[in-house]
């Protein structure tokens, strides 16, 4: 309920995400929590945007380094790059895709909390931990009198 309210307020599908890779160091490290919002203002060079490549689930958080706004159609041609990467993101886009557009962007980074998202990463890397935690919680609920 709170999650959906937050999604509505920030105008973004998933307003809180965990950083999974080190491609934006030293700004964001693996395990940081990012707060996103999708404001009405247009995308500009230098914005740290979260976008999804069409056909892929995983969102990517990188900075916009090139922008070309087509006058006739209003389409924005955007190129992104992670601060810690040597090359731009064309290697990550779909084969033959050279730009992304406004529709692919799901939010801009508005704030962050360091380290908090580490739990999600540890749970994903060691699923035994996830099962152990669920088992422990289940056992606790069964034993507890109240």
């Amino acid at each position: 309920m709170v999650w959906k309210g937050l999604a509505l307020y920030t105008n973004s599908e998933s307003p809180i995400v965990v950083v999974l890779s080190g491609s934006m160091e030293p700004a964001f490290y693996r395990g940081d929590l990012l707060f996103l919002a999708m404001p009405d203002e247009p995308v500009r060079v230098g914005d740290i945007c979260v976008f999804k490549i069409p056909g892929r689930d995983v969102p990517i958080v990188h900075r916009v380094i090139k922008l070309h706004d087509e006058r006739k159609t209003g389409t924005q041609y955007i190129l992104t790059k992670g601060d810690n990467n040597q090359v731009d993101d064309r290697g990550l886009y779909n084969p033959g895709q050279q730009w992304i557009h406004q529709e692919d962007i799901v939010g801009k980074v508005k704030g962050f909390l360091p380290y908090v998202g580490m739990i999600t990463i540890i749970m994903n890397d060691y699923p035994q931990l996830k099962y152990a935690l669920i088992g422990f919680l289940g056992l606790y609920m069964l034993i507890n009198r109240e």
Binding site: P26, A27, I65, K66, H68, E70
Partner: protein, 134 residues
């Protein structure tokens, strides 16, 4: 009376409230901290050469040489984590009303590195338009 779990829960909830209160206060104060950065960007030379580029074909590439003198030391306050500095070429063409291309960027992590003085800076990234000529 109160068991251990209830006490732990109360402590945790209070800690969270205090933390977010402090974070909120920091967020409100930070934009008002004074800063007076200054920068001088002088373009010394531009050369345009055409190369074959992706699906666009033969396109004009601009190679620029820039003198940069930027004093960003005042931007470093107690709440500054890093400065992301970039030189952006912004221009308008017939078919595209806004074009922004980053020519060079740098990450500054401490006040000592904050006075940037470089002559003959070359653009780090390809300076090429989305159409075949500028």
């Amino acid at each position: 009376m109160y068991n251990l779990l209830q006490r732990a829960n109360a402590i945790f909830a209070f800690a969270m409230t205090v933390t977010f209160g402090v974070l909120g206060a920091i967020a409100i104060v930070t934009p008002f901290l004074p800063s007076f950065p200054s920068a001088q960007v002088n373009v010394k030379d531009i050369q345009v050469i055409s190369y074959d580029y992706m699906s666009q074909g033969e396109s004009e590439f601009a190679f620029v040489k820039i003198n940069l003198d930027a004093d960003l030391t005042s931007l470093f306050n107690w709440n500054t984590k890093q400065l992301f500095v970039s030189i952006v070429a912004e221009y308008e063409t017939k078919s595209h009303d806004l074009n922004q291309v980053v020519l060079w960027d740098s990450i500054i992590q401490s006040k000592d590195e904050a006075h940037i003085k470089v002559s003959d800076l070359h653009n780090e990234y390809n300076f090429v338009d989305i159409t075949t000529s500028f």
